[in-house]
Symmetry: C2
Subunit: 165 residues, 2 copies
């Protein structure tokens, strides 16, 4: 990915400040890895003529939820996107017949996004592709235990990032 022949030159510049901040290095890796894996997943889904990755995230998140439904706010938080963004995203999935919007009786402000059978069906179709790509990316060089360790570290960082906003 990187031009390896120039890597050392890139890294050894006489920078303006004391170089190689381990946090920044870790952050760069996080960013690039996220982008790389996301790209691969997208690519695989497109190649299989399936909907884009955010659709999968919605379906998978709802599938794991208690009644296969979630408040819009909860779903937005789980996907880490804006509420406004989620409204439109859900609109698209509803238009595709995968989801349904329900309104709460006790609190008429809240609305639920509910998974429909067609959504489950599509999810089952997308899952193997996603699973295969993730397996290729993760288990190629990481054991299951390491993957778990990775997850724990990431969760630590996330909790730090979320806590003090």
């Amino acid at each position: 990915m990187y031009p390896m022949s120039e890597q050392s030159a890139v890294a050894e510049r006489s920078g303006t400040s004391a170089d190689v901040d381990p946090h920044r290095e870790a952050w760069i890796s996080l960013t690039q890895t996220h982008a790389a894996v996301t790209g691969r997943l997208q690519e695989a889904l497109t190649a299989a003529e399936l909907p884009p990755l955010p659709w999968f995230e919605v379906l998978a998140t709802l599938d794991r939820a208690p009644e296969q439904r979630l408040k819009m706010g909860e779903l937005a938080e789980a996907l880490v996107i804006t509420r406004g963004g989620l409204t439109k995203l859900v609109d698209r999935l509803i238009k595709a017949g995968l989801l349904e919007r329900n309104f709460c009786e006790t609190d008429r402000r809240v609305s639920y996004a509910t998974l429909l059978p067609a959504g489950v069906e599509l999810l089952e179709e997308m899952r193997p592709i996603v699973r295969a790509e993730l397996a290729a990316a993760f288990s190629a060089k990481l054991t299951v235990a390491q993957a778990d360790e990775l997850r724990e570290m990431l969760d630590s960082v996330r909790s730090s990032a979320c806590g003090m906003s």
Copy 2:
């Protein structure tokens, strides 16, 4: 972040397939952590009335490069964005007087994005904010050694993801 009171219910749904795939769990953590930290960085930069995060990434990447300049293609790859996307991004930075576009003598197809003094200046202004946010997110619960370990794991995953495209 998650509604903890319902977490067990969410996790223990009688799913359609054998639940808790460690890879998927790790991937979810990766996604959410990335989004959370990115959000915090954005927020901090906006609060300081500074340009958005992608601008910092461009400046920081060029600053580390040999002559403080990079081919458009190399830069796009380092930032993991499309070349088309980078063209516009660089256009904006040039319009802001932070970068300069140079053309190669020996190969007139390539063009370089070169950091200008104003860009270095702005970078120095942004760096402490970014550094502080990353420190808050990472060093709160991770030692330096752990951060390094995290980076290594992420790099493994990235190399797997990049290798077979």
